[in-house]
């Protein structure tokens, strides 16, 4: 048995020790800013209290339900209102204890026993027990659950399919019995889908829970209007103490230039939806803080093997991409070359020795195209019309023209694009620019999804599943994700990535990029790393 919970004691000791050395204020601020579920966030400087923090979000449908995705903004609300058994701080990539105080894992890795924290209060006044865990997770695992909205996406569905039994021996113990080992379970429980809702509230509101969400998080739900904003209030009985700010508003701001202007004017406190092009300008302005947000998402181009059947042509396309131009012109510096292929630099399995997969060599690309007899061939390229996508499409179109292909580009609005991406019969389904953000920083969420033959990427988008030998990757990825030793796991992932790229090349990595977080200069102790992953931990933030 191994004991993984209770990291907090050592952290507290560290903080105390640091303050004795006279680095208290700075270091506390730094660590608190990383938003680790700190037990003693009152040490050091007492933060400013009161006030309203407004975050700009992509949109809201005024439905905040961990089983039902509407917009990134709506799920940020879930993140603020509810907490899960485990917690990912984005400072380390290791799951920490949250509503579960500690846990034990059986030697065969099939039984997870969680000891729950006692004395935690929900916003509706009820006390947190194992019954709430069962009621909340049943909504993920059981599609017949009465409190689900029609068509709920249930992000933890796959975890449920791997579950032999979920039981609660007593009020403060929950036991997961798995069919097959799954090392990622603790991490996935920290995801939005694993957030715990009050059972009493579920019984009261049924499938309307998304309009009346009740959790144990630092902020309580106050009001929401579709297409406008969601208003949250600080919860004074939050288990780690009442947040410094009184009110948190997540407001829909869709126009990119308005996002920049309202950051500068102070109408918006912080956002991760800053347009890349404004970063230089914002950095030079004293009224805002631009954070060095981790380059945590994959920007890539999928190639449909049913349309571009020759491996050499796909490799040539990958060799043609001018990643320096993409970084400077499409991302304005908020990106790095994909040296770890699909695994971004902030993740444990990142391995820079894979950099050669994503090199640029126009001469070699030309030669490959020529020998494949593809010179002058027309390829179709599509991209969404928002954010960095259209600009990347223009750069790549130029790159591919330079190696002797004829390129037809189409960029369409995101909703249309998303549908066309999933339709292999689409006219423009040769090359598709897309991205993958991980809510939970693990290789299984990146290469594990991208190379999974039966997944959307391997099936609808690239047709990887139609190639010989693709089926093996399902097993290889499953086996890799369960390797407990981090170094061994990293080695195995690198082998898989290299083999996948060299044998198939269905995915050309463009860059690893950041969702650039910017805040007003008066906003302090905000967990910007998490915000850069579309996660919203504002319990320590002050304005």
């Amino acid at each position: 048995m191994m004991e993984i919970g209770n990291h907090n004691v050592s952290r507290r000791t560290l903080l105390r020790g640091a303050s004795i050395l006279g680095m208290g204020a700075g270091l506390t601020g730094l660590l608190a800013a990383c938003g680790i579920a700190a037990e003693d966030d009152k040490s050091g400087d007492s933060p400013k209290t009161g006030g309203t923090l407004t975050l700009a979000i992509d949109g809201t449908s005024a439905v905040n339900d961990p089983a039902y995705y509407t917009t990134l903004g709506d799920w940020m609300v879930v993140d603020c209102v509810c907490r899960g058994l485990t917690f990912i701080s984005f400072e380390t990539n290791e799951p920490q204890a949250d509503l579960a105080e500690s846990w034990t894992i059986s030697d065969d890795q099939l039984t997870y026993t969680f000891k729950l924290r006692q004395g935690v209060t929900f916003h509706d006044g009820t006390t947190f027990t194992s019954a709430d865990v069962l009621a909340s997770l049943d909504r993920q695992f059981n599609d017949k659950n009465k409190t689900l909205l029609e068509g709920s996406s249930r992000p933890l569905k796959a975890m449920g399919e791997n579950l032999a039994a979920l039981t609660a021996p007593d009020d403060y113990t929950v036991v997961f019995k798995l069919k097959k080992a799954d090392r990622t379970l603790l991490g996935r429980l920290s995801d939005i889908g694993g957030r715990i809702i009050s059972k009493a509230a579920l019984e009261k509101y049924g499938s309307d829970i998304g309009k009346n969400l009740v959790g144990t998080g630092p902020f309580t739900f106050s009001a929401a209007t579709s297409g406008q904003s969601v208003t949250l209030e600080a919860f004074d009985k939050f288990r780690l103490g009442k947040p410094p700010i009184d009110r948190l508003v997540l407001q829909q701001v869709t126009d990119p230039s308005t996002i920049v202007s309202s950051l500068l004017s102070g109408d918006i406190g912080a956002t991760q939806f800053t347009p890349y092009s404004a970063l230089e300008q914002l950095k030079s302005d004293k009224s805002v803080t631009v954070y060095d947000t981790p380059k945590s998402f994959d920007a890539f181009m999928m190639m449909d093997v049913r349309r571009i059947p020759e491996l050499d042509v796909r490799k040539a396309i990958n060799l043609a991409i001018d990643r320096d131009s993409l970084i400077s012109q499409a991302f304005f510096g908020a990106a790095v070359k994909p040296d770890g292929y699909t695994i971004p630099p902030n993740q444990d399995a990142y391995d820079a020795t894979l950099a050669d997969i994503s090199t640029t060599n126009v001469e070699q690309a030309k030669a490959l195209i020529k020998s494949a007899g593809a010179t002058g061939r027309t390829v179709h390229l599509m991209a969404a019309s928002d954010s960095w996508h259209p600009k990347a499409a223009q750069i790549i179109a130029q790159n591919l023209t330079d190696i002797g292909l004829k390129v037809e580009t189409d960029s369409v609005d995101p909703a249309t694009y998303f549908n066309r991406l999933l339709n292999p019969d689409d006219e423009y389904h040769d090359l598709m620019i897309w991205e993958r953000n991980g809510y939970y920083p693990d290789a299984d969420d990146m290469i594990g999804s991208l190379a999974k033959p039966s997944g959307v990427y391997g099936d609808y988008i690239s047709g990887f599943t139609t190639l010989d030998g693709s089926a093996d990757y399902a097993d290889m990825l499953f086996e890799a994700k369960n390797i407990t030793d981090a170094t061994a796991r990293k080695t195995r992932y690198s082998e898989i990535q290299r083999a996948w790229a060299e044998k198939y090349m269905t995915l050309s990595m463009l860059v690893c990029a950041a969702n650039p977080v910017v805040s007003g200069a008066d906003v302090e102790n905000m967990n910007w790393r998490a915000l850069g992953n579309h996660r919203c931990y504002m319990e320590n933030a002050s304005v």
């Binding site: 990119p256 230039s257 920049v260 404004a278 300008q281 001018d322 400077s328 012109q329 223009q394 960029s411």
Partner: protein
């Protein structure tokens, strides 16, 4: 002197009254210049408006780039010159479509009267009952963004206004002697409409059509700003304003130049319209 000769003579003489006053004259020159630039684009600039160089991004004063380069290193001057084309093309085609649809419908309604008139005019009311901008957005996005759908959308949205005028004018003409004479002489209705009625309402209609041109240009620019016009990398002023907005703080010329060009064109169209109306339809002016 019969009405027929009077009207035609009026139109002919009216041309001589055009362009009086500095504002009107300047406007005519501006519109002509814009058309010329749009037509002669490739002869005026050598740079490729759709292709950039990575070594000069967003720079002003780089050699060979009079107006600098945009965010993808493309020559801004070339983009400004080529960017005139979609706006002019769409505004002229859409106005032509609106003129044909509106005049046709109004002519038939006004001449025929009765039930036909009721049906045609209610259809036109329907199109007017919805803000034109929304109507066009619906048409364009339901079809597919591009020149074709933009022209159709704007043409349909602007036709009813012209139809109302055409109907009123045609109804007036329908009772006149020369029309009666033509009908009694056995001329078939379409012929009467085209050969007798149309020339007589052409003057005031033309003035109104040119006024419509400025409205069409405003819509064309606005919709391509919304990304519903011609698709990148083909340059287009409206879209250039939208794309340049990101650089409002760092390279404001990317917004100011295309916005100003659009403004100048629309204003000039307005003054030209005023001038034409004053010349062709003196009764309605002042």
């Amino acid at each position: 002197m019969s009405d027929l000769i009077g009207s035609r003579l009026r139109t002919a003489f009216a041309v001589r009254r055009l362009g009086r006053g500095p504002l009107a004259a300047a406007s005519w020159i501006v519109v002509a210049l814009f058309v010329l630039v749009a037509l002669a684009g490739p002869f005026l600039v050598s740079a490729d408006p759709a292709r950039g160089t990575a070594d000069a991004l967003l720079t002003l004063g780089a050699p060979g780039h009079l107006l600098g380069t945009d965010d993808l290193g493309r020559d801004e001057l070339a983009r400004m010159v080529y960017g005139a084309r979609p706006l002019l093309l769409v505004s002229f085609l859409a106005t032509a479509l609106a003129a044909v649809l509106g005049t046709g419908a109004g002519l038939v309604a006004g001449y025929a009267g009765g039930r036909t008139e009721w049906v045609v005019m209610r259809l036109m009311d329907l199109a007017l009952a919805f803000p034109s901008m929304l109507l066009i957005i619906l048409i364009v996005s339901a079809w597919q963004p591009g020149v074709g759908s933009l022209v159709t959308g704007i043409g349909i949205a602007l036709a009813p206004g012209l139809a109302r005028l055409a109907r009123a004018l045609a109804a007036r003409e329908a009772g006149r002697d020369y029309v009666l004479a033509a009908r009694l002489g056995g001329t078939r209705t379409p012929r009467v409409l085209v050969q007798e009625v149309l020339p007589n309402i052409a003057g005031p209609m033309l003035a109104q059509v040119v006024m419509t041109l400025s409205v069409a240009a405003g819509f064309a620019a606005g919709l391509s700003y919304l990304g519903l016009g011609i698709q990148p990398p083909t340059p287009d002023w409206g879209y250039m304003v939208q794309a340049g907005q990101e650089f409002l703080y760092t390279a404001p010329r990317l917004v100011v130049l295309p916005a100003a060009a659009t403004l100048i064109f629309v204003v000039a169209c307005n003054f030209v319209g005023d001038d034409l109306r004053d010349a062709l339809d003196p009764r309605s002016s002042r």
